[in-house]
């Protein structure tokens, strides 16, 4: 009896894990191919074979026969940008998946608690004060974190006064704080110099990876990794959080500890991402959604799927952004232009997007 039970259960775990690994190989390979294509494509095309040999030579520390211009274009110009797209896309999608689980709503994006609005206000303030780029990024990052902290503080204060649904309270506080921040942004836009600052503000609010450099990546990677660690560690608990506060607590989850940890982690990732790229909508909304259709709602699979899909989606969209027209199209426009119709198509055809 016990033997039968153990054969029925024990191999399930390992086999499932192996199946998971082999299932993950294909998307990872596809993503790598996309990266190579992305590195080779542009105003100055580099053959894919050359990109491969360049990357291989760089990784192994060998010399290469590829000409110097191609080397500069691929390694200095395009590589930071593509890496930026991978990291930011993965981060936004992971944060979106987390927020959707926490707020039990598949239509929630990482902006729900005001992180983008706060980052925008910080960046716009930096632009109006004509601060250097690094300071603008710092202000954006700080603004995003401050906005979410303010929302959380309001949420806790309201709950002390007897509000019963902590999640709804947070969302409503997020809406209110977001409106306040929006007013601040509008005010600064009115006050900004219309010839230099206003275009810069507009471009920041539409998002772009054009100016991402290796230094930026170095600055945001630690924050993103620190944010991702709790998401990975608490991946199964996110499933429980999606049952709602009361049920999760009845099942033994300390929601009052886990919710703020998850919100802080997802916020850190989002704030770091938007601080270098500006606001990029839709990725955090649509990618987790597609990932859920592919692998189901279990966050243990949803998180890696979102990371991969997010990285791929933003890399592909950024490739479009710099190749589709003679001028660069801001990312925010393309993520919406590509994302929204796709989303509508999903809504119309998906059998079980959500209950």
């Amino acid at each position: 009896m016990s033997e039968a039970a153990s054969t029925a259960v024990a191999p399930g775990g390992t086999r499932r894990r192996l199946a998971g690994l082999s299932l993950a190989t294909l998307p990872v390979l596809a993503l790598l191919l996309l990266v190579v294509v992305s590195l080779g494509t542009g105003r100055y095309p580099v053959p894919l074979a050359d990109v491969f040999s360049l990357l291989l030579a760089k990784a192994l520390g060998l010399s290469t026969a590829v000409d110097a211009t191609a080397q500069t274009v691929v390694l200095q110009v395009r590589l930071p940008r593509v890496l930026g797209a991978l990291v930011v896309g993965a981060g936004l999608a992971a944060a979106g998946a987390t927020y959707q689980g926490l707020f039990r709503n598949p239509l929630v994006s990482p902006d729900i608690l005001g992180v983008s609005a706060g980052a925008s206000l910080g960046a716009v303030l930096g632009i109006v004060l004509t601060l250097p780029a690094a300071a603008i990024q710092g202000l954006a990052f700080a603004g995003g974190l401050a906005a979410v902290s303010a929302v959380y503080a309001v949420g806790i204060a309201v709950r002390r006064r007897g509000a019963s649904d902590p999640v709804l309270t947070l969302v409503l506080a997020g809406v209110a704080v977001g409106a306040l921040l929006g007013a601040g942004i509008a005010l600064l836009k009115v006050m900004a110099d219309p010839y230099n600052q206003l275009p810069a503000i507009t471009f920041w609010l539409l998002g772009s990876l054009a100016s991402v450099n290796p230094g930026d990546l170095g600055a945001i990677l630690p924050a993103m990794l620190i944010g991702l660690v709790p998401l990975v560690l608490l991946r199964w608990r996110v499933n429980l959080m999606s049952l709602g506060d009361e049920e999760a607590r009845a099942l033994g989850v300390e929601t009052r500890v886990i919710r703020p940890v998850l919100v802080a982690a997802a916020t850190l990732v989002t704030a770091a991402a938007v601080s270098v790229t500006g606001v990029i909508g839709w990725v955090g909304l649509i990618v987790p959604h597609v990932a859920r259709l592919l692998v189901g709602p279990d966050f243990r699979r949803l998180l890696p799927a979102s990371l991969l899909l997010g990285a791929g989606y933003l890399t592909a969209v950024d490739l479009l952004a710099r190749t589709v027209a003679t001028i660069e199209v801001p990312l925010g426009i393309l993520t919406a232009l590509v994302g929204a119709p796709f989303f509508l198509w999903l809504l119309a055809t998906a059998k079980r997007g959500w209950a």
Partner: protein, 258 residues
């Protein structure tokens, strides 16, 4: 197992009920009857430690419940909410696995032992065939059984069920009540609420009558589910008719229309 002593309960400063004292022993089924708005759900939430008691004490296996960490409470008491539509299309097996949360450390994911416990719970309720189905696509009755399985997967000693028969069809009601009886036989205590006083005869050892937040009666079904108390509770005339050949005093309750 669980003892409430002069318990007052409510939300924040709003007191819903007071002076509730009762004891649930291992393997005993207690049925809570009361009108809508009588405080049944609030009492349950307080009993589960989800709401702080406004006065009095909740003693769980000799310890004050309010001083216990959530996980320890959840290990002993499992909650079966009313069958609801979940927000994400989890598989039934994934839903049942969630019942293991109180048995796992914060950073842990369920392992082989947890899968085994989930399978046992599914088998115990006779719904093993639903394991790979999507929770949001099965019927309300099946969902209620899945939620009971989820509670049992955590291997609790007490189940608190909030109107487990509400919105179920006749057959599923009977199936759920039969499960309550089987749980009692296995030594698991059950506290459940219901809107049908007749259910008390089918599965309960004790009945608590909650009226305006206070206990209007506490005792075996045959002594508490009688026309006088039901008139007090629900404000209607009720005929309590013994079933032919009843051994435990089973009776039917039917309203008598004026």
């Amino acid at each position: 197992m669980l003892a409430l002593r002069e318990l007052a309960f409510g939300y924040g400063t709003r007191r819903v009920g007071a002076g509730v004292s009762l004891t649930v022993r291992p393997g005993e089924a207690l049925c809570l009857l009361g009108p809508n708005g009588g405080g049944k759900t609030t009492l349950f939430k307080t009993m589960l430690g989800l709401l702080p008691p406004l006065a009095g004490q909740i003693v769980l296996e000799g310890r004050d419940l309010t001083t216990l960490p959530r996980r320890d409470v959840a290990k002993t008491i499992a909650y079966v909410p009313q069958a609801h539509a979940a927000f994400f299309p989890f598989r039934v097996r994934e839903v049942v696995l969630m019942g293991r949360a109180s048995r796992l450390a914060a950073f842990a994911s369920p392992g082989a032992a947890d899968h085994a416990a989930a399978d046992r719970a599914l088998t115990m309720l006779g719904i093993g065939h639903l394991a790979e189905r999507i929770y949001t696509e099965i019927s309300g009755g099946e969902r209620q059984l899945v939620l009971i399985a989820r509670a049992l997967a955590g291997e609790p000693r007490l189940l608190v069920m909030d109107e487990p028969t509400a919105s179920l069809d006749f057959g599923n009601q009977a199936r759920v009540l039969a499960q309550v009886r089987r749980l009692s036989e296995r030594g698991i205590a059950v506290v459940l609420s219901t809107h049908d006083p007749g259910h008390a005869f089918l599965c309960a050892d004790q009945v608590a009558l909650l009226h305006n937040g206070r206990l209007a009666g506490l005792g075996p079904p045959a002594e508490t589910v009688i026309p006088d108390t039901l008139r007090l509770l629900y404000g209607v005339e009720v005929a309590v008719v013994p079933l032919p050949g009843a051994r435990r005093g089973e009776a039917l309750c039917a309203p008598v229309l004026p």
